[in-house]
Symmetry: C2
Subunit: 247 residues, 2 copies
C-alpha cells in the first residue's frame, strides 16, 4: 500500500503547524539552497511530484511556467494547495507518483520536494521520470539524506541526561523500509544509499549538475534545534538533466 | 606540515601487515568496485597521487599505460613500490601532492586511492588536477566517506559489553582536521562533506560519471569485521571527467 500518512487527521493537524506549512518556502531551512538549484521556469511545462500545499507549484508559475501539474496522494494536502496556491496555470491531481503515465517528453522540468523517501521503487520511478522529461529537461529534487534514513528512528542518540551525543548510522547498505517517527507519529519511509540515488541517475540517462547537503541559513540558527542541524546532514538536494544521448 | 605518518617506523610496520599491503589489490575490499570505474589505460599518461606500494601504477602499465608517475610523500612507501612494482614505464617520485606542478594537459588520467583525506585543501588540489589533466581526461579516486570521517575517531559506538551499537556521526558540517586512530596509532585526517567533494568537482569543470559507496565483496564477508562494513559506508569512489567546456 502506498503511504498516505498525510490524510491521517492527527498527523495532518501536526504537519499543518510546522514552520514550513505555516510560512511556506520561507519556513523551510533548505529553501535558499534548493532555490539556487532551480532552472529557469519561463515557458516551461512542470511536473511536481508530491506537491503538498503547492508552494513550489506557485513559485514555478510566478517564475513564468506555462503549465504546472502538482501530484499528491493526500486529498487533504491537495485541498490546502487549491486554497492557498491556486492559479489557472496549475492543476492539482490526486495520484500515487509511481502510477503516473504520460506520453514521452510531456514535461520540461520535473521537481520533487521531500517525497521520494516515501517511494519503495526509486529506480522504477526514475525510469518513468526519464521518459516523461523532454531530452535536456531538468530534474530537481530533495530527499531525506541517506545518513538520516539509514538507522530508522531518525532521532539523535542521547546520554542518560537526555543530551544529544551524536547521530547513529547503522544498516546503511540494507535498503528498504524503515519505521520512523515524524511529528510524534509512526511513518513508513524507505532508506536508500547515496549510490542508489546518484549512480541511479548517472546510469539512468541523467547528467548530474548539482549535489548539495543544505546547511541551515544563518538567520534561522536561533530557532530551537536548528543549530543541531549542523551536526549531521538531514537532506540531499540534487539537480540533474536528462541527456540528449548516453555518453 | 604535511602528514607523513607512513614514514613512522611503528605505523609503517603495522601498515605492511594489512591485507591490502600483503595481497595488493586483491586484499582491498573496494577493489572490485573501483576497478569497474577505471578508464581504458591503453596509451595513456597516468598520474597516481599517493601511490603507496605502487599496485595501481603497475595495474595501469599492465593495462597499456604508456607512462605512469606515482607520487607519494613517504620514502618508505616508495622504496617498497620500487621493489614490488617496478617497471620501465613507471616513475616513482617523492613529493607532497599539494606542491606538484606540471604543464597544462600533462596527463590523460589522474588517479588517487585513499589519499585525499590527508590533504587540507581539496579545492586547491582540484584546481591543479583540472589543469594537469587534458580536456576529456579521466579522474578516478577513492576517499574515506564523509560519514566515516565526520565524528573523528573513526570507530564504532559500543555498549558496556563492548558490542557495536552503531556508527556515530557528528560535526558533519564542520570541515577540517580530525584526530583519528588508524592501526592503533594517532593520525591526522581531514573531514569534508559530500557536497564539497561532489559539488566541488561539478563546479570545478568536471562531469561526474560514477559515484559509488563500495560494499565488501561476498567472498570477503567471512574476514573478521568485514560484515560490519555493511553497517555504514567507509569509502566513496568517484569517477569524473574533465569537461571540454563548461555547460
Amino acid at each position: 500500500m502506498k503511504e498516505n500518512k498525510y490524510d491521517d487527521d492527527v498527523f495532518f493537524e501536526k504537519y499543518s503547524h510546522m514552520l514550513r506549512s505555516e510560512r511556506g518556502l520561507a519556513g523551510a531551512g533548505e529553501w535558499p539552497a534548493l532555490e539556487k538549484l532551480l532552472p529557469d521556469f519561463a515557458g516551461k511545462r512542470v511536473l511536481d511530484l508530491g506537491c503538498g500545499y503547492g508552494w513550489h507549484c506557485m513559485y514555478a508559475v510566478r517564475h513564468g511556467a506555462s503549465r504546472v501539474l502538482g501530484i499528491d496522494l493526500s486529498e487533504k494536502m491537495l485541498e490546502t494547495a487549491r486554497r492557498k496556491n491556486s492559479d489557472s496555470r496549475i492543476e492539482y491531481r490526486r495520484a500515487a507518483m509511481e502510477d503516473l503515465d504520460f506520453p514521452a517528453g510531456s514535461f520540461d522540468i520535473v521537481f520533487s520536494s521531500l517525497a521520494f523517501h516515501y517511494v519503495k521503487d526509486f529506480c522504477g520511478l526514475l525510469e518513468n521520470i526519464g521518459r516523461f522529461l523532454t531530452p535536456g529537461g531538468d530534474f530537481v529534487f530533495s530527499v531525506e539524506h541517506p545518513v538520516f534514513t539509514a538507522y530508522g528512528s531518525q532521532d539523535w542518540y542521547y546520554d542518560e541526561k537526555g543530551e544529544i551525543l551524536h547521530f547513529p548510522v547503522d544498516h546503511y547498505f540494507e535498503e528498504g523500509e524503515r519505521q520512523a517517527v515524524f511529528l510524534g507519529e509512526p511513518v513508513t519511509k524507505y532508506h536508500r544509499t547515496l549510490t542508489t540515488y546518484l549512480n541511479g541517475l548517472l546510469q539512468g540517462g541523467f547528467e548530474l549538475l548539482g549535489v548539495v547537503e543544505p546547511e541551515p541559513p544563518e538567520d534561522m540558527l536561533d530557532i530551537p534545534g536548528m543549530r543541531d542541524e549542523l551536526r549531521r546532514p538531514m537532506m540531499l538536494l540534487v539537480k540533474a538533466r536528462k541527456r540528449f544521448y548516453n555518453p
